[in-house]
């Protein structure tokens, strides 16, 4: 087994930043967590990230904003959105804009794994 793929988590909710990396590592991925889009962009893992788990609503730069910024930088990272906002209209819009998946919190571990596998297949 080679170097595990890096999955980066960007969410302003602390409990998500604590819990999700552990689960990802259980899945066999490498994981990094960031509390904001700005922090992620400033890090040195942008180019290494194979998949991004991205919260939609955050103070400052939002999830979709980050998506656009990455596209502008031609960093074509597959994105799985995660949101606590139970608004069904959000999902088709995000998918149309190129997201691999949009998961509504709370989501099961299998739903997450399916989405990650789909994302990694795109690479």
């Amino acid at each position: 087994m080679g170097t595990p793929s890096l999955v980066s988590v960007v969410d302003d909710d602390e409990s998500v930043r604590e819990s999700l990396p552990d689960l990802l590592r259980e899945f066999g991925f490498a994981a990094e967590a960031f509390s904001s889009a700005e922090a992620f962009l400033a890090s040195d893992v942008v180019s290494e990230t194979s998949c991004l788990l991205l919260d939609v609503a955050m103070p400052g730069m939002s999830g979709p904003d980050l998506q656009q910024e990455l596209r502008r930088r031609q960093r074509d990272i597959p994105i799985v959105f995660i949101t606590a906002q139970g608004d069904e209209t959000v999902r088709p819009r995000l998918l149309a804009q190129g997201a691999v998946e949009c998961l509504f919190k709370p989501f099961s571990d299998t739903a997450l794994l399916d989405a990650l596998n789909a994302a990694l297949r795109m690479r």
Partner: protein, 685 residues
């Protein structure tokens, strides 16, 4: 005198003739009847000329008053054409001299080529009245009888002239006296007329038959301040108001032409330039034959009357208009005799024929069947002496139901009332509609607020739930690993418990918010309430990337109110502020919530945003239901919020900021003690 004897018989004849002539002369009618001196003299001269067979006879009559003298000459036929009167006069003057008393009784005079014996006699005792001269070709002229006849004739002439003069003088005096009497009577009459005309309390003018101003009384001069000549120009000098002039000319001309009286109401200019209303009436004055000799014109000042009339008309119109606008009728009712006087508007409200007879029974007949006891009760109370305030419905002949409200005031010992009655149907209907709309709004508002809350609750619960599920999944996988990662599993289980507690806290918060089934008054700490709302809205505010700043006063007193309702207001204001800043990208999306203590034991809460704001023009509309500046808003939030604040006897208002955005504030009194009765809060629909 020498007389030939042989002619005694002739002499007798001559004497007889002379006597006849004397009689003839003295009996001449001209002498006794008076008449013109010239005529008297002419008659005498003619008689003398014939009797004495004279060649000429001449008379000069002095007029002592005028100074001129009258000269008359009568010539015999034989002398005609040979001499003229002036020549005879000159010849006589030159031969007889000027002094009458010194004249010789007879002389010889040559007139032309005729040699004449001339005799003269004077008129009047001293000859002062003139003289009579007779001339004959006979040498013996004048004989004694001829002399006698000449003297008698002169005397007769003098007497006749005197008589005539007396007569004419008498006549003249009589005429003079008569004229004086007439003039006096006329003057007296004029004085009386003038007195009467000047005393008439009106303006009087007399016109000629053709309509020209002839005489006017003192009042006319005083009113117009014009001369008679100026008054005659009334058609061209603004004496009559220009608006009235054409009609006045037409009526006046027609009257003068047709000879029938006229009357016209018009304006005349007073001396100070002010036009006043007059009644102008004119009628013709006719002579015995019915011909118009004059016109009499009476001008009566009716300006005050006219003004009062207009004032009355205006007042009446205003009253009627006011009654129509306010749909208020008035009435006077004598309940004992069942006699009533209604205003026009009362008739209109009841849809009765204006002016038709009204009775208690007739009005009672159109009272709504359900309200008959109300109507009869009011009548009974009024008859008993109380002043009724009544409220009942009527059903008009068209089947329209109207709400009437009114009161009456007693004005006599008997049950006589003056009152007013108003058709309040429109306001009643509007009030009902308003109540209905208000409860519908409240319902819509609750649903809308609930949906906002639901979204917040879901978000707040989903975050910890998400953590729980992820941690639980991780935990299982760690335990399933070979070897099991017990330490990792313990850590994830610990986090699961923490997130579970966090979810539980959210639920506890919600329970606190909704546990009270009844809306009730309780002490509310607005700082705490604001913090709870901020906590509930936190994720939404965060999502919209707002920079939330709170300035909560430390010394804020509790107020008495409905906590949940007030939190709904806060939630609404926060949500509005947040929505207003969604489109803002060029500046920080700053939101400030501030609580502070106000004078007068009040508390103020302010929510300030940096959003799109609003202009002053739309400020009044902000609080109207369904007014919204948001494309997806319902526009009910602010209207409901204001009604909630007002139920707390407070005030909610909005102001545009100096910079971008708007500030919404509400201020409410601390409670019933500091304000008014808060009971209406309990009456929640």
């Amino acid at each position: 005198m020498e007389v030939p004897l042989e002619s005694a018989a002739d002499e007798v004849t001559r004497l007889r003739d002379c006597l006849n002539d004397l009689v003839s002369i003295t009996a001449l009618p001209a002498l006794s009847t008076g008449g013109e001196p010239g005529q008297i003299l002419s008659t005498l001269l003619d008689a003398l000329l014939g009797m004495l067979r004279l060649s000429f006879v001449f008379v000069r009559l002095n007029d002592p008053e005028a100074g001129d003298s009258i000269q008359i000459v009568r010539l015999a036929e034989s002398l005609e054409g040979t001499a003229r009167a002036r020549e005879i006069s000159e010849a006589i003057d030159s031969s007889l001299g000027d002094a009458p008393l010194n004249r010789p009784p007879h002389v010889r005079v040559i007139i032309g080529d005729v040699d004449l014996s001339v005799a003269s006699a004077h008129l009047g005792l001293q000859g002062q009245n003139g003289l009579v001269v007779a001339g004959s070709e006979r040498r013996d002229f004048p004989s004694e009888t001829e002399r006698l006849l000449l003297d008698v004739t002169a005397n007769q002439a003098a007497i006749g002239l005197q008589h005539a003069r007396l007569l004419s003088e008498q006549k003249r005096l009589e005429e003079l006296a008569q004229r004086r009497r007439t003039e006096e009577a006329q003057r007296e009459g004029e004085r009386e007329s003038r007195l009467i005309v000047d005393s008439i309390p009106g303006l009087v003018a007399l016109l000629t038959a053709t309509g020209d101003v002839e005489v006017v009384n003192r009042q006319v001069f005083e009113y117009f301040g014009q001369t008679l000549e100026e008054l005659r120009q009334w058609g061209t000098n603004d004496t009559i108001h220009p608006e009235d002039l054409p009609q006045v000319i037409e009526v006046f001309t027609r009257a003068i032409t047709s000879g029938s009286s006229y009357e016209i109401v018009q304006r005349f200019r007073r001396s100070d330039g002010v036009y006043r209303w007059f009644s102008n009436s004119g009628f013709p004055l006719r002579d015995a034959n019915g011909h118009i000799v004059r016109w009499c014109v009476l001008l009566t000042d009716i300006d005050d009357l006219k003004r009062a009339e207009a004032e009355l008309r205006r007042a009446y119109d205003h009253l009627a208009e006011a009654q129509r606008l306010s749909q208020t009728g008035s009435f006077t009712s004598d309940l004992a005799t069942d006699e009533h006087c209604w205003s026009e508007e009362f008739y209109r409200i009841c849809e009765f024929e204006p002016g038709s007879k009204v009775t208690i029974q007739r009005l009672g007949d159109i009272v709504h069947p359900e309200d008959v006891p109300l109507y009869e009760g009011a009548i009974q109370r009024a008859i008993a002496g109380t002043e009724p305030v009544f409220h009942f419905r009527i059903v008009t002949s068209r089947g329209v139901v109207k709400h009437l409200r009114g009161f009456a005031h007693r004005i006599a010992d008997r049950p006589v009332f003056v009152g007013a009655v108003q058709d309040v149907t429109a306001s009643r209907v509007a009030e009902d509609a308003l109540n209905k709309a208000r409860s519908e709004l409240a319902h819509v508002a609750r649903v809308a607020t609930l949906s906002t809350l639901t979204a917040s609750i879901a978000h707040e619960l989903n975050q910890p739930l998400s953590g729980i599920i992820t941690n639980a999944g991780t935990c299982l996988r760690m335990l399933d690993a070979n070897p099991p990662n017990v330490e990792g599993a313990r850590e994830t289980a610990r986090r699961t418990i923490r997130d579970g507690n966090r979810a539980s806290e959210v639920v506890a918060l919600l329970r606190a918010l909704f546990s009270k089934k009844e809306f009730a008054l309780e002490p509310v700490d607005l700082n705490e309430a604001a913090q709870e709302v901020l906590a509930l809205s936190f994720s939404e505010l965060q999502r919209n990337r707002l920079i939330v700043q709170s300035e909560l006063a430390d010394d804020l007193p509790s107020i008495i109110g409905d906590r949940v309702q007030l939190q709904q207001v806060l939630l609404n204001l926060l949500r509005n502020a947040s929505d207003a800043m969604v489109g803002v990208h060029d500046r920080p999306r700053q939101l400030l919530i501030r609580t502070e203590r106000e004078d007068g034991d009040r508390v103020r809460v302010t929510v300030r945003d940096a959003g799109t704001g609003f202009d002053r023009q739309s400020m009044d509309n902000l609080f109207e239901a369904f007014y919204t500046t948001k494309s997806d808003g319902m526009g009910i939030g602010l209207s409901v919020s204001r009604s909630i604040v007002e139920r707390h006897h407070g005030r909610l208002w909005a102001e545009p900021n100096d910079g971008p955005g708007a500030t919404f504030s509400f201020s409410i009194p601390r409670g019933p003690d500091s304000g008014t009765d808060a009971a209406p809060l309990m009456r929640h629909s």
